[in-house]
């Protein structure tokens, strides 16, 4: 699913899952459901090699070759091949078959379900594998006014809101988005990756993506979307520094916006809250404490229980949405 959360958003590519139809159905169904929840009624094209009992016994490499021939005949811009638990267990040489000459570009992403790691591993592997489509900067010189957005969480509910908020912040520095890698772009669009002067990752907490793309493109980067009051200001300063822009005005404007935000929620001053991570969220509490203090809310164990959101609020807009939720909990 981690692979598909990236590859399915490459609009002119086909994803081929080397496994039984049931595995592809699971992924198609979950992806379709999630997109429908976002009011996106699009069904990404995901092809199954349809492994059956015969292939499990005698090997599924012929089935993969046949499926690749079929898919390439449709002349897609690229084929992303993902392996599955079954194909890895029976030991098919998926990498070998994908590396043969085909009529269209074929990218193999090892993603063998529970044999091959987590959702994040599949997501990371696909982002790095698709970098093979990045071309050298066409003009020979990067445009410092352009920014790549890398690794948006396509399945998160707030994905478009978060993008709009980051775009707003970047616009304050006269920066514009070059490509969204990978969200509703074509394979050709990836070729423009090298034109940008800055990479911004959605969330690269372990630094794996940053290391990879820094090394392969040499473009400076910021590791994550801004989360929190001071982090948003730091984000603006860092983006300005890395693109040779003076961030002073933008920082002042954002400070005013944040002051207006705390004023908007001043009715909550004097209330007490406590944060509940439900035992599985790994988010640090500093950002929440910072926001609470800014608004005048105390943090104490006996306070109103505030659930920590699954996805952290991005930018000042995200904080406004979060504070509205706090207000509902406190007044509810």
């Amino acid at each position: 699913m981690g692979v598909l959360s990236v590859s399915a958003f490459l609009t002119d590519a086909v994803t081929l899952i080397h496994g039984p139809d049931g595995c592809t159905h699971i992924n198609t169904s979950l992806l379709y459901t999630t997109l429908a929840e976002h009011d996106v009624f699009r069904i990404p094209e995901i092809v199954s090699t349809g492994l059956g009992e015969d292939e499990v016994i005698f090997g599924g490499e012929n089935a993969l070759e046949e499926a690749l021939t079929d898919v390439c005949a449709g002349d897609p811009a690229a084929v992303v091949v993902a392996s599955s638990c079954v194909s890895e267990t029976i030991g098919d040489d998926v990498a070998g078959i994908c590396s043969q000459p085909w009529d269209c570009p074929v990218v193999y992403v090892p993603s063998s379900g529970f044999l091959g790691g987590t959702f994040t591993d599949g997501y990371t592997s696909t982002l790095t594998a698709l970098s093979s489509f990045i071309k050298p900067c066409a003009s020979g010189e990067r445009n410092p006014g352009k920014v790549n957005i890398i690794g948006e969480k396509n399945l998160e509910f707030e994905v478009e809101d978060n993008f709009q908020e980051v775009s707003r912040i970047l616009a304050m520095l006269d920066l514009e988005v070059n490509i969204r890698y990978v969200r509703d772009i074509t394979v050709d669009d990836i070729g423009k990756f090298g034109d940008a002067g800055l990479n911004i990752f959605r969330e690269d907490t372990d630094g794996r993506l940053g290391q990879y793309f820094d090394a392969c493109t040499g473009i400076p980067s910021l590791p994550e979307f801004p989360v929190g009051l001071s982090a948003t200001l730091s984000f603006i300063r860092d983006a300005g520094r890395l693109t040779g822009r003076d961030p002073t005005e933008a920082v002042c404007a954002e400070e005013e916006r944040q002051a207006a935000l705390t004023e908007e929620f001043s009715d909550l001053a004097g209330a007490y809250v406590t944060f509940d991570s439900f035992g599985f969220q790994s988010a640090g509490m500093e950002m929440f404490t910072e926001v609470a203090e800014a608004v005048g809310i105390g943090v104490a164990p006996e306070g109103t229980v505030i659930p920590i959101p699954f996805c952290m609020p991005v930018g000042t807009l995200g904080l406004r949405r979060m504070l509205r939720q706090w207000r509902r909990f406190i007044n509810g």
Binding site: P20, I26, T28, Y32, F41, E53, E55, V56, C85, T89
Partner: protein, 372 residues
């Protein structure tokens, strides 16, 4: 042999087997496989299912200990442990019997690659050691799978019709206690023919008016004390209502040009009904499962096939799932098949029995009407 297919639309055998067994209260169903398989199955099976959540280590060093752990945890709450073996452990081929907490577990090999959901349902029931009990009164109802959004309504409707005939209901497959399911009566009526269990002697199905009439006619002979005439009366009343509503519709509308997609049994029933009473043009009919030879449907288990069929046929009414609704935007639509996304279906609607006939005709006639 494997055949590439674009966006397969029907769940695998593992899901069907798990749904069947989880519908029998008293079972402790364990999906022996990965969390990914389990999460999907759990999302469409309303009854409790459990999982061994296998990871790489267990695939290399053996999955038995993990199964033992889960089976032991479930035993205090279960009359019988049921292990649904999924793709990878089925491929590895371990002997799982010694790892079921020392209990006499039912181990069902239902890897996804051995078939689709309907195959899995039948495989599971073929492993159930049910023995007909001549002393048990009434008839069994089969053809109920909890992943079918109409299953609960179908059961209620089947019970209602049998109740009107004064025939007690014996075992219900698969929505019953395990004890009841293991001791069925000798005769069975089928809600959805695609899921006939083979348990007991079949008295026919309840899918469509003709089938209901034939089934209850047969039951009258087998149960001389029953009042199957009451059900025949309901069938007649239903037919009158359908005829009147369809005639009224046809006074101001052309017959619909209908595309059907879903379970073959339902689609055949719908095809007969709409052809007979609405003079409908069945422009295409695709079954998610392998249809029987005399079916109006062709096998259409993937989105690529469905898309092509809709494009070629140009229907003005689509009966199917949200996938078909997405592929034919703006075309009036009746939802009869998984997935039901973006819409809620809370009440227990039947698609079989006389109420099923009425609901389907009502939905077709009302589809696309937006005026008050």
């Amino acid at each position: 042999m494997a055949k590439p297919c674009t966006n397969p639309l029907w769940p695998c055998a593992m899901v069907g087997a798990a749904a069947a067994m989880a519908g029998l209260r008293g079972t402790g169903v364990i999906i022996h496989g990965a969390s990914g398989c389990y999460f999907y199955a759990d999302s469409i099976i309303p009854d409790p299912v459990n999982c061994t959540c296998l990871i790489e280590d267990e695939v290399i060093f053996g999955t038995g200990d993990r199964l033992q752990e889960v089976a032991q945890a479930l035993m205090p709450f279960s009359e019988r442990i049921v292990v649904i073996n999924s793709c990878v452990p089925a491929t590895i081929g371990e002997d799982l019997a010694p790892y079921c907490g020392g209990s006499d577990a039912l181990i069902i090999d239902a890897p996804g690659y051995c078939g689709d959901m309907m195959d899995g349902y039948r495989i599971a029931l073929s492993h159930l050691p049910a023995e007909t009990d001549p002393s048990r009164p009434g008839v069994n109802i089969d053809g109920l799978i909890s992943t079918d959004p109409f299953a609960a309504g179908n059961l209620m409707e089947a019970e209602r019709l049998l109740g009107r005939a004064g025939i007690p209901v014996a075992a219900r497959y698969c929505n019953d206690t395990l004890a009841s399911a293991l001791k069925p009566a000798e005769t069975t009526v089928t809600a959805l023919p695609d899921l006939a269990s083979g348990i007991g002697s079949s008295a026919g199905s309840l899918c469509g008016l003709d089938a209901i009439a034939a089934t209850f006619s047969g039951l009258q002979a087998a149960f001389p004390d029953a009042d199957c005439g009451a059900v025949m009366d309901i069938c007649e009343e239903t037919e009158e209502m359908v005829t009147k509503a369809c005639d009224r519709y046809l006074r101001v509308n052309d017959p619909p040009r209908v595309a059907f997609f879903g379970i073959a049994g339902y689609m055949d029933m719908a095809g007969d009904l709409l052809s007979a009473y609405l003079d409908a043009d069945i422009c295409c009919a695709g079954a998610r499962n392998q249809p029987p030879e005399d079916s109006v449907c062709t096998w259409a288990p993937d989105l690529g096939t469905v898309k092509q069929m809709i494009e070629d046929a140009g229907p003005d009414l689509v009966i199917g799932s949200r996938y078909e609704a997405t592929l034919a935007p703006g075309v009036p639509f009746v939802q009869t098949t998984l997935p039901i996304r973006k819409h809620s279906m809370l009440c227990h609607r039947p698609l079989v029995g006389t109420e099923g006939v009425l609901w389907l005709v009502e939905s077709v006639i009302n589809a696309g009407k937006h005026d008050c």
